[in-house]
Amino acid sequence: MEHKTEPRHTISVWVDNLPGVLSRVTGLFSGRGFNIESLCVAETMDPEVSRITIVSTGDEAITEQIIKQLHKLINVIRVVDLSELEHVEREMALVTVKADGTSRAEVLRIADIFRCRVVDVSPTTYSLEITGNHAKIKAVLDNLKVHGILDIVRTGSLAIQRTKKE
């Protein structure tokens, strides 16, 4: 996969909370051949404003274009490329893992090491809630894979700028 070698950008977009706005944003990406790796969207404290976190890959020129094109949309209020700033990123995954016999204790141990929460239990499975950055989720999944992942659902990245400390 060629695009994997290109830098990842986490872009925060504040938009009017109106029907069709998400489609304007995603349409901009698809229409110009820009890549969306993940996307999260929900209302902010102001119900008239939604905040979208988009993770995209592309070189500097593409990212510059993406940000300019986003700004150009009438319903886009603000765009910040968080990759250029100190920020915290989190993703969440819900995963059901096969856990019977000997693997039952091992799966729990992995969950414990990575501070996952068990959200559902059955005699042969555990469902875990994993939060963390992109790398951590990958690490957990790599460790769980050997036991057999039966079901998985993931969010995209959420990101927030760190408050300046001085």
């Binding site: 901009l28 274009q65 300019k68 700004h71």
Partner: protein, 562 residues
């Protein structure tokens, strides 16, 4: 006082000083059309196909500096506008298209003549709206006009459900429109402007490369002043023609695929390229990596996303073209005068030599009409001051090359999208905006057939539009590519055409024909003296090519010259 949606709609148009609408009625806009009978201050021009309504609004906008308006019904009425909207979007033309929509309760039900036109036109409008609440109606309409005409202009679509047009409220009309997330930058950053001027001072071989932004921002005078002050030669894109006088000594002609040898060489050898209101389109740049390889680039554009989109820019300036050029001229006037004519002499001499080496030309024939000759004669007999619209293809390029536009807003052409069938309805719109002007659509026998149904519209409305058909019995430009790059395999490009003279007569217009070179002038003269719509059918050399030509993907200096 309570007003219906339809009344509010027309009141808003009045408040926007709309005098003309191009449109076509249908089931869901009946209420608006009914209200129109009680709105004598707005003239509705009934087209024969909705695409033509949008092109007409486009032509009207360019010729009048106002926002063009089209009004159509839902479903097919709406989808027929898409080509016109996409063309206006590519060319940054301010229009507002109103589409009827099925009643809000039926939206999403696959109702009769229902289509999600807001979804369809999302990527080809500057913005669009579906008005579901009559309380939002007035504000939305005024916002649509505001967005269409401000910043980088463009088309806005407003979808109007039938029940919203029938409902009634006591309306509130906004005094002004402010959109918190939309604030175009008109005033360029003075520091960037100063840096640009410094670069222009040190450059030995500068070129001004201008585009449609000059025309749209009415920056011609400032451009001419700036070019003259610093003695910088000027070339422009198709969209920028007329933005700088075509008979000016600093004028090099159009650049790009069918640009002049001189303009393309100048850009290829320049050490500074000052791009103003142009967007480095592929038809201009040719092979990107070899475009202006020796030049530093200054790029002035009101749309930040145009800057550094295709080529990397050294000095980006976000702002209105006229404002920026004004700032440059103001800075210049504060500085001690320098003899730029002397400083530029070597560069201007080189440019002049290129111009002499390969001027725009064609081989004269005593027996067959050359299409270029027709354009030259049109130019001569209209003193270069007519409003010219074009279709797309060879007719468009010959018009661009041989009608030496002296003033802005004299050329209306579908530059970005390249719509065959644009020119005639656009000419209709221009004639409505400029009732006393000479308006000529320069067409091909192929493209005129794409919206020929509008002949009855111009006859019915006494719009004396002239159509000059360069009839070469081919889809000329495609044929040219087949000749040059596909070993003359003329696949689906020879085409039959109707008898245009009889056709004109059938519609109640006047038809004239020229088959020999000596008939060209009398035909044009007669057409210009006829106060009615006229078709001029010029039977021209069938296999004439537009030259020079930069083959697609080649560098600008790799031109085919003849």
């Amino acid at each position: 006082m309570k007003m219906t949606g339809a009344q509010i709609f027309l009141k808003c148009l009045e408040r926007e000083e709309v005098k003309h609408i191009f449109g076509y009625p249908g089931g869901v806009v009946l209420d608006i059309y009914d209200e129109l009978t009680r709105t004598p201050q707005i003239q509705h021009i009934l087209v024969r196909h909705e695409q033509a309504a949008v092109h007409a609004a486009d032509g009207y906008a360019r010729a009048s500096r106002k926002v063009g308006v089209a009004l159509v019904t839902s479903g097919p009425g709406a989808t027929n506008t898409v080509t016109g909207i996409a063309s206006a979007y590519m060319d940054s033309i301010p229009i507002v298209v109103f589409t009827g929509q099925v009643p809000t309760a039926l939206i999403g039900n696959d109702a009769f003549q229902e289509v999600d036109i807001v979804g369809i036109t999302r990527p080809c409008t500057k913005h669009n709206y579906l008005v579901k609440d009559i309380n939002q109606l007035a504000h939305t309409i005024h916002e649509a006009f505001h967005i269409a005409r401000s910043g980088r202009p463009g088309p806005v679509l407003v979808d109007l459900p039938k029940d919203v047009m029938q409902a009634s409220i006591v309306p509130k009309f906004p005094e002004s429109i402010k959109i918190k997330s939309y604030n175009p930058t008109y005033h360029a950053n003075p520091r960037q402007v100063k840096r640009a001027l410094d670069l222009a001072f040190t450059a030995k071989k500068p070129v001004l490369y201008t585009g449609g932004g000059i025309v749209l921002s009415d920056a011609s005078e400032e451009l001419t002043k700036f070019a003259e002050a610093l003695q910088i030669p000027v070339t422009s894109t198709l969209m920028g023609l007329g933005g700088f006088p075509g008979d000016h000594p600093l004028w090099m002609g159009m650049l790009g695929m069918h640009g002049t040898y001189c303009a393309n060489m100048a850009v290829s050898k320049a050490d500074l390229l000052i791009a103003v209101g142009a967007r480095f389109d592929d038809r201009v740049t040719g092979k990107l990596t070899e475009f202006a390889p020796h030049a530093k680039i200054i790029h002035v554009d009101i749309d930040p996303s145009s800057i550094s989109k295709n080529v990397k820019v050294d000095i980006p300036i976000v702002g209105d073209c006229r404002d920026t050029l004004q700032q440059l001229n103001d800075l210049l006037s504060e500085m001690p005068a320098r003899n730029w004519a002397e400083a530029r002499e070597p560069w201007l001499k080189t440019v002049a030599a290129w111009e002499q080496e390969h001027p725009l030309t064609y081989t004269w024939s005593d027996t067959v009409i050359k299409p270029q000759y027709v354009i030259e004669k049109l130019w001569e007999l209209t003193n270069g001051d007519a409003f010219i619209t074009t279709e797309v293809g060879q007719n468009q390029m010959w018009a661009a090359q041989f009608y030496k536009f002296k003033k802005p807003r004299r050329l209306m052409t579908s530059g970005g999208l390249g719509v065959m069938g644009y020119g005639f309805p656009a000419a209709m719109g221009v004639q409505v905006a400029q009732p006393d002007a000479i308006v000529i659509d320069i067409a091909g026998d192929g493209s005129i057939q794409m919206n020929i149904q509008e002949l009855i519209t111009v006859v019915e409305n006494n719009l004396p539009v002239k159509i000059a058909i360069l009839n070469n019995t081919f889809l000329g430009m495609v044929r040219q590519w087949q000749q040059l790059f596909y070993e003359r395999r003329y696949s689906s490009t020879p085409m039959a055409a109707p008898d245009f003279v009889k056709l004109a007569e059938a519609y109640g217009a006047v038809g004239l024909r020229a088959t020999k070179p000596e008939e060209v002038e009398p035909v044009i003269k007669e057409a210009l003296n006829t106060p009615k719509p006229v078709i001029m059918d010029f039977r021209v050399e069938p296999e004439e090519c537009v030259m020079p030509m930069v083959p697609a993907g080649k560098a600008m200096h790799e031109m085919l010259l003849a």
